[in-house]
């Protein structure tokens, strides 16, 4: 039954786009207005309507004016609740979407930023089979978890924003289809060999000045002036120089697409992704060579994200 209804809805969407009013993707911000908010009674609302009709008939039959007056009052309140349901959505604005990072197969965290001029209570959002309820008091941020299956650009799905506020008699809804895509990173392979270091790897093992201050020592000729500790030297008869620790020189990884000829495309991507993750975890510096681009040596989250992004969008 449910599946049949779903199929029917799909068919209607395909054949009668004007009627079903499904929204084409559109740029942010999206502001809901009366041209895109739809209202229908809920099942409870229909039942309540039948109840009102029964009460009306009873009051008329017994010519009971007090009951008739109150039935009219309840009916008018129900009608007013329809307007309130509309008002809950009207003017609600989706200002922006912040997407987190996720690897394929894991849910992607999306933060939707809503704004409204006045308080909206009991707004609900349907996304990927789950319903989130929230209230917008001026502004609200809503965190969604969007399931992903494969790497690459993922267009945001159509989101249904709805509310049955205040009495649950009417459901007002609107479709949001933000014209925005989020990038899903490739899934790293679970395990595999470490990267092969290129032949000139030893050459790259030049000592690197460290970051941590180790000690102060006397000035020797050839020390860079910027390493002189001026403040400390002022209290001393000689110039003092800041001596930095020299970390163990570590191999810089060059992760090369072309070095993995034996694997097929997706396996290569998965392996490169795993190496990127390992390099980042070990705090190494690494560069990435892809068929059509080269990402220079670097490290840190931004560098990692850039490399993963480049892997994600590989054809």
């Amino acid at each position: 039954m449910r599946a049949a209804l779903h199929r029917l809805a799909r068919y209607a969407e395909r054949r009668l786009p004007a009627l079903t009013r499904l929204r084409q993707p559109e740029p942010l911000p999206i502001e809901l207005n009366r041209r895109r908010i739809y209202i229908l009674p809920t099942a409870f609302g229909l039942g309540f309507g039948v109840l009102l009709l029964v009460m009306l008939t009873g009051a008329l039959n017994y010519t009971n004016n007090a009951a008739l007056l109150l039935t009219c009052l309840l009916g008018a309140a129900a009608a007013a609740s329809m307007l309130l349901a509309f008002r809950t959505l009207d003017g609600l604005r989706l200002r922006g979407i912040r997407a987190g990072h996720a690897i394929a197969g894991e849910p992607l965290e999306l933060v939707l930023d809503f704004a409204a001029s006045r308080l909206r209570e009991a707004v609900r959002l349907d996304c990927a089979g789950e319903t989130l309820a929230f209230a917008v008091d001026g502004a609200a941020e809503l965190t969604l978890r969007l399931p992903t299956t494969r790497r690459g650009w993922l267009a945001l799905p159509r989101l249904r924003l709805w509310s049955t506020w205040p009495l649950g008699l009417f459901r007002a809804w609107s479709w949001l289809h933000p014209q925005q895509s989020v990038l899903v990173w490739p899934r790293p392979e679970p395990a595999g060999p470490p990267p092969l270091l290129p032949a000139d790897a030893q050459e790259r093992l030049r000592p690197q000045p460290g970051e941590e201050l180790a000690a102060l020592r006397d000035y020797r000729r050839g020390d860079a002036p910027r390493h002189i500790a001026w403040k400390a030297s002022a209290r001393h008869h000689d110039l003092l120089v800041k001596d930095f620790d020299r970390p163990e020189p570590r191999a810089t990884w060059l992760l090369d697409w072309h070095a993995l000829r034996s694997l097929d495309r997706e396996a290569r991507i998965a392996r490169l992704a795993r190496w990127l993750g390992e390099a980042e975890a070990q705090g190494r510096r690494y560069s990435l060579q892809l068929p059509s681009e080269r990402i220079d040596t670097g490290s840190g989250p931004a560098h990692y994200a850039r490399c993963m992004g480049a892997l994600a969008v590989l054809p």
Binding site: G47, T63, L70, S117, G168
Partner: protein, 650 residues
Amino acid sequence: MTTAATALDTRSFDLVALAFAATLALHTPHLPWWLSAPLVLAIGLRWRLRRQHHVRTPMWMKLPLLALLVLAVIAHYGNVFGQAPGTALAAGLLALKLLETETVRDARVGVGFACFLLMAALLFDQSLVATVAVALGLLPPLAALRSLEPGRRAPVALWRDLVPGATLLATALPLAVLAFLLVPRLSSPLWGAANNTEQRSGLADSMTPAGFTQLLIDDSPALRVSFDGPPPPPDRRYFRAYVMSRYDGISWTYRDVVNQPPAPVEAVAGLRYRISLEPTRQHVLPTLDMPLTAPPGASLRRDRVLMADKPVDKLRDYTMTSATAYRLEPQLGRHHARWLQLPAGFNPRTLALGQSWRERYGNDDDAIVRAALALFHDGGFSYTLSPAPLGRDAMDDFLFVTHEGFCEHYASAFTVLMRAAGIPARVVTGYQGGYWNAMGRYLLVRNSDAHAWSEVWLAGRGWVRVDPTAAVHPQRISLGAAAAAPGQLPWYEDGWLQSLRNHWDIVNRWWNIGVNGFNALRQRSLLKPFGVDETDTSTLASLLAASCVLAMLAGLAWVWRRREPEDAVRAALRLLERKLARRGVARRPGEGPRDYLSRAADALPAQRDRLTELMHRYLELRYAQAKPTPELLRALQRAVRDFSVGRVVK
């Protein structure tokens, strides 16, 4: 939906329980106590158990409870159909529903049912107080429905949850009143009208001396009368209901004679008045003195008793013409013997007294009447609402032993005496007196104004009203029942409170006339002020549809109005843009105000100075200060308003 199956949170459950309890409370006046008490208890217990111990009602309890409820209702009422048993059953079902209310869906169903049951409470009582109580009773269900919506914010006090519902109802009131006025009424009921056997206090068609006492301390309104002219003086305010002819030694009874024309009456002037009678569940319609006409749906009986075709189940309005000076049935003819009937073997001393008067005064009926009144006046009789009990020969006991009683005793004894003396006589019951509500300009007659008096037939004068109570206690007639028996009435009938109640009665009358009395007849003349004499059903229906559409449009206008604060400076610029656009200088997209106004100045050289000035004013307001001063703003607005481009001369 996932939401329907979600469990109720504490506040929602509180509100649902409150809604159910309020609904039951409004039904308690007509539910038997042995039903309402356990139901209220069940709701309280269930609320406590769920709140404190998170206990669910076990499954095995539900069915036996339901069976018990049905059995109890059948045992008490005989069946489960009809107004009273149906309501009792529904109230029980509502209370049982709370036992199994765990989810949002349960709560919704229960609250809808509670709304229905609230309306049913009005089948039993349509007074203003009851209606307002039911309207207030709608607040907990509305609050409960509201609390079922997700995403609730900070918790508030329980009563503050009721406020939005009140606002909603207040907003809905105009549309509700329109709908109330315009919903076409049924010309005849679709199914049997309410069959209510509940005994209402009021006059009965039989009278046993001392039977009135319940009535005489019931000061609920019985009828309200408004007169075309000034009201008759207090001692003329006799409202006839029943004329009792048959006496069996214990009670007087009324014998309805349907197929005979009303007795002839000779009257000169008629007094026009309008009575609205509270429901009595009886046919009789009290009339002032001698009714000359019968209103629609009622007929005059042989004794000029006015009988409605149907029992008076709800407030009934009727307009009457009555004579206060009249000659009723000048010739008694063959009916003579009927009015002399007395049961054999009762009240021998009374009969002997009557016969002795006849022997003493001969044919002078007037003298016999006077003798009887003199007996009451001088014979040591007293007026009291709590007389000593009477034995088998009640009239003998009253006349010769106890010497105390109220109108029923006097009317009854007087009539027996007259019949014993051979004068046709009868007992009349009805109302006497009433409170003249000067503010509302109507006479309020309460049940405590119930009265009994006599009519005797005198040759040449017909039936003449004689009030023997007046002989004993004239204040009863001139001041009314409350003044007649001071100290014997409950505290709430005393003094200033009484006057407060009389004023409150104006409100009730307004409600009775305006709302309860708004029937199909008045609905048809709804549009009379607009020159439409008869508003038929189709007109009403289209009016109703039109007003619903109008109300919805008004609502839409309200919801569509965006209340974003309009920037006054920008609004001024926009007005200027419109004026310039009419002259062909429209603002391009992305064009700033300075560029635009410079271009406009170039295009309209005649206006160059003024446009430059406007531009400076605008830029100053917009960019020079954080918040523009009102003077500068007004100056800009005035300058824009005064700016006119004039005709383009080519």
